[in-house]
């Protein structure tokens, strides 16, 4: 009832030239205010499709998506999105990339305030001093940080991340997990993050949802018993290893293979 994101039995079929492609076949998900849910599942099962439904970029064929007690029928400015591809605009400085959403959401906000807000976020993710650089001058990890700032600049209620760290190397990724935790404690939001990395999912989320293969349903939900900020050592505790084992097992079921066949 008091879930900020409430997805009820959502179904979606793409109509393509090759025919109908049922992608989501009854997905349920509830995220309380301030919660952070990670979604994992086999490749191509419809995770990105789910994010587009939450963002109001797509309408479900059946079922309902609610945000903050309001039925989603189209895009809303209370949503922020970031993707695996940081999609920074090369002709703008880093600062102007971050202020972009404000140009739409708060056109009358004085420029000075927009800049101040963007600078504050850039500093939070460790990009202080890079405001006037071009995106092409940043490393992959830095671009992703800037992209994260852009998705947060208008203080969205809901943050949707579609494999945000998927293209980064393992060390950069762990850096960004920690940045993400810092951001979460300073900037309140309710989040949904798609990921392929099980360790990332348990490290950052309060709850991990496993989607089945296409057409996808919510197959399994795991509560993460850790509260607040975590450090990387947590991932090497027996508790974590047990959770990862269970998630891996569920993914194998989702992929339609029995655990024994998969060699576990």
């Amino acid at each position: 009832m008091d879930a900020l994101i409430d997805i009820r039995d959502v179904k979606l079929t793409y109509e393509t030239k090759g025919g109908r492609l049922p992608v989501l076949d009854g997905v349920d998900m509830r995220v309380p205010e301030g919660g952070f849910v990670a979604v994992v599942g086999p490749s191509g099962c419809g995770k990105s499709t789910l994010t587009r439904l939450i963002a109001g970029l797509l309408e479900p064929n059946a079922g309902e998506v609610w945000l903050h007690g309001e039925r989603v029928t189209g895009p809303k400015s209370s949503v922020g999105m970031a993707f695996q591809n940081p999609v920074l605009l090369e002709w703008r400085s880093v600062l102007r990339n971050v202020t972009l959403p404000l140009e739409l959401v708060a056109p009358r906000m004085p420029k000075r305030e927009k800049d101040e807000r963007a600078r504050q976020l850039l500093a939070l993710v460790g990009l202080e001093g890079f405001e006037d650089k071009r995106p092409s001058e940043l490393s992959g990890g830095m671009r992703q940080r800037a992209s994260l700032c852009r998705s947060l600049v208008h203080k969205p209620e809901v943050l949707i991340l579609d494999e945000p760290f998927g293209a980064l190397d393992a060390f950069t990724r762990e850096d960004l997990w920690q940045t993400m935790q810092k951001v979460k404690s300073e900037e309140p939001f309710t989040g949904v993050m798609i990921t392929h990395d099980l360790r990332e999912s348990i490290f950052l989320a309060d709850e991990v949802i496993v989607m089945s293969g296409r057409p996808a349903v919510t197959q399994y939900t795991m509560e993460i018993p850790w509260k607040g900020e975590r450090d990387l050592d947590r991932l090497y505790t027996p508790e974590a290893i047990e959770m990862l084992g269970e998630l891996r097992h569920q993914i194998q079921i989702a992929q339609g293979r029995s655990p024994r066949e998969a060699g576990v």
Binding site: G56, L57, N85
Partner: protein, 252 residues
Amino acid sequence: MNWRIFAPLIALVVFCLLWEALVWVNDWPNYKMASPSDLGPAFWKFRWLFLEYGWDTLWRTVAGLLLSVFVGLLLGMIMGLNRTMRDALYPLLVGFNAIPKATVVPIIALLFVGAHDMNTILIAFLISFFPIAVSVSIGLSTLEPEYRDILASLGASRFTIFWKIALPKTLPEFFGSLKVAVTLAFIGTNLMEIVEPHGRGLGHLFDSGKISADYPLMFAVLIALAALGILLYYVVVVLERTFAGWAERSPT
């Protein structure tokens, strides 16, 4: 000394010397091939015509080009943003572009007899809008969906997405095609000027040179055309640097 200016100047001088030497060694008479030293007198003799006709050629080319940019952008937008329109218009455009423009010149010249300015501008336009339309449409239709989604997820209109993202992102392709278009438009202008009787422009001056067998004049016109072509091209380069300079990566 700035090598970026100095080097092309040296190249130019060497080219003229070689040309002069070629004519001198073969002992070619003027009616076979003019040499650089004949050009000065030719330019001087017809200096007022060169200025007047050069201006005609220049403004007609620019007018045709502006028309091309307008129509090319419009067609490119229509085809780039709408799949059905792209499928419908593309074969038509390709077919049109395949027609050698030399065959269109007499048709246009007969269609609007005597309307020199309009005919010339029309040919310059017809010959040069195609690359602009194609590159803009490709630039727009290959925009990755995520670029759209950053603004679409905030409820931005299609126009806002076009204005803030799609259009600036297509600018490098647009300027690339403009460099091709500027050369084409220039060719178009001169084709028409050469063909039309009682016309004006450098093309007409070339034709007069041909009729009166004034070879140095003909060569002088060629040189004037080359100079104008370089001027136009570099104007586009400056515009490109100004508006799409971000696409040029500094070598690292």
